[in-house]
Amino acid sequence: MSEIIRLEHIWKRFTGVTALSDVSVSFSSGEVHALVGENGAGKSTLIKVLLGAYQPTEGRIFYEGKETVIESPRKGSELGIEGVHQELMLVPYLSVSQNIFLNREIRKGKIFDVKEMNRRSQELLHDFSIDIDVTKPVKQYSASIWKMIDIARVINQNPKVIIFDEPTAILSEREVDSLFSSIRRLKEKGIAIIYISHRLNEIGEIADKVTVLRDGHHIGTLPASELCNDDIVKMMVGRDVSQYYSRSRVERGEELIRLDSLELKKGQHDISLSVHKGEIVGLAGLVGAGRTEVAEAILGINPILKGSITYKGKPFHPASPSQSIKKGIYLVPENRKYQGLILRFTVANNIALSVFSRWAKFFYKGKKEATVAENAIRKLSIKTPSSKQLVNNLSGGNQQKVVIAKALETSAEFLIFDEPSVGVDVGAKEEIHNHMDSFVVAGGGILMISSDLPEVVGMCDRVYVMYEGRIVKELKGDEVTDNNIAEYMLGSKVAEAGI
């Protein structure tokens, strides 16, 4: 393994903020090097420096032994440094193979060799065990497939260094597995991999080395084999965070909501579940198993074809989010940026978003909004300079807390959390779990959709597992284990039991 990039004493200062202070670290070919740290620790800045999107204020970069200035992302790309970004970077209406070969088309003379590009795309995706029609526009595929296509696009450029920025945030376990096997293949080919993730278990599984950043400082770089998760967390936050999920003991109350053999759309049927007061109930399954659709049906976004819902003992026919919210049901959606928040609104505006029309028949109550927001900021310890800050400027964890504050403000009794801790750092994740816990202690009920198995096992009293549009299993008490859930959600137990 030879060193490919070395950073020496890198500083990056923005007006008023030092994002990187004296960071020296080197990355080697054929090695998976994980970069961890809480949100705001400087990971994004560091990778932007590597990609050429930012110039360091001080310090030197050596690439393949020579001192190099990566003056632009284009230069980075020419050197062979590519990034798989958190955001999805595809053109929706171009086909899969057109996206993969965008600006790098294979030509036969002057003309594009479409056949060859399709064949190669198919091959690339096959490595991730994804077999889709590469001639169809990417728009019709799910977000997790987009991610895989994006990764294929980057690999196709034959880079020497690939930076993965939270690649698994929207992937299901199975997809994560195929991503990891292709990362291992890339590693064998001698490519240097820089891997950023909040999921510590993944790091133990895939990384060779771990570099921990905190507040812009380089805390340490160690071989992954010498670190356990607790060590990493301690280095990241500089304090002990109980890595374990703590739930208060709550007496299970009366039934809050019951779904009776719902049929949603083709292939989604036999959906029956119930949530009682004082319970956190998990809804596990692969991405695309139909979990979000269940949440959307309860909110009245998707029509219910058959079956019935009983809410607080009465029949309930969801018609729209506004009606469901009036009844005390609230969804904390999967994607806080696109579904949970209005990024150009202030923290206070967002917190009041679901309730302002209750106070304001005609005139908007600005003062009331400010008071409500200040209280919520204190209660959920949202880190923001003021309630007037644009929510866009907050870190992921704090944005998620704003969404939760917005939900709690409606005095909902039944909350649905769709991936409550995606892209959130360890500290904020724990706080979010604590808020969920106190919500059910106060007599509420929660349905939690999550792809993070330790989270499901750690937080839930009961778990329903979905597989291909159906609920195939209810797991209670001791049955709630990683293994059980995984077996049902991957379908292996389903075939066996003939469900």
């Binding site: 696109y338 209005i342 150009r344 609104f345 005609f362 005139f363 600005g366």
Partner: protein
Amino acid sequence: MKRGDIVRTLKGFPPVVWMLILIICIFSFTGTNFYSVNNLLNIVRQASPYLILAMGETLAILVGGIDLSVGYVMGFCGVAVAMLMNMGLPFYVAILIALVIGAFCGFINGLFVGKFKLPYFIVTYGTGNMVYGLGSIITGGVSQPALDRGFRFIADGTLLGIPVVFFLALIVFLLMKLLIKKTPFGRNLYGLGGNRESLFLSGVNVVKAEIMVFTVTGLLAAIAGVIFAARSASGHPGFGIGWEFDAVAATIIGGNSFSEGKGSINKTVLGVIFIQILRIGLNISGVAPQAQSFLIGFIVVIAISIDVIIQRRK
């Protein structure tokens, strides 16, 4: 204020302010009577209906859409008010009915874009043409006189030496500010443009909110139409043709954005003043009408380019 604060405040001004200052400087040399009272009153008279129309257009743009029907709706409402008065209705009743008609046109736009999720461009283009066609049928394409003295007072009257239309535009502006700043209407307006999905999941009835926005846009177009009919002492279905694009141009030149629900009607006011001063300035500088059209187009493109380049730098 410290010197740094002043600099910061100046930097915070939208670029249109600087361009406005620039063209005013130029016209004070080239135009013979640029600062005459008469000329200023002229600017105010001409700008008022245009401003009211453009504020409505701004609402449609802030929700991420566009309204191409406002010019036609304006013309039709002018026709309506003239014909209703000619039928013997008192002018205030005629005005009221014309405003209801305008609001209804906006409501229809809102219904189709909000409820049925059809493209803004097509829906508003379609309703605009229908309204124009309807106006041409009922008038036979002939101008409808509007000579009622009370009605004409809107255009010709003055209070304290200032044209009534100025106060009308001011009142409409202040009411719009109130509506946008202080009511759920305004919150929903920016929410629709900012992130419709979040607003919907937060329990806001987004269809209703969007219909409201377009209804107000239609209402403002009707007010502009009534004022314009009063000024020309007649109504004609073709009176507002092309104004929708002037309204869009003023909105954007003022510094509002076609996306993300960014902007405000203050900026639109600046945009309207800019275009209006540009027109009148070219006029009194003796530029031939053909060349005026070219110059306005040219300056608008340059102005927008400067604005966009500065925004990108930020």
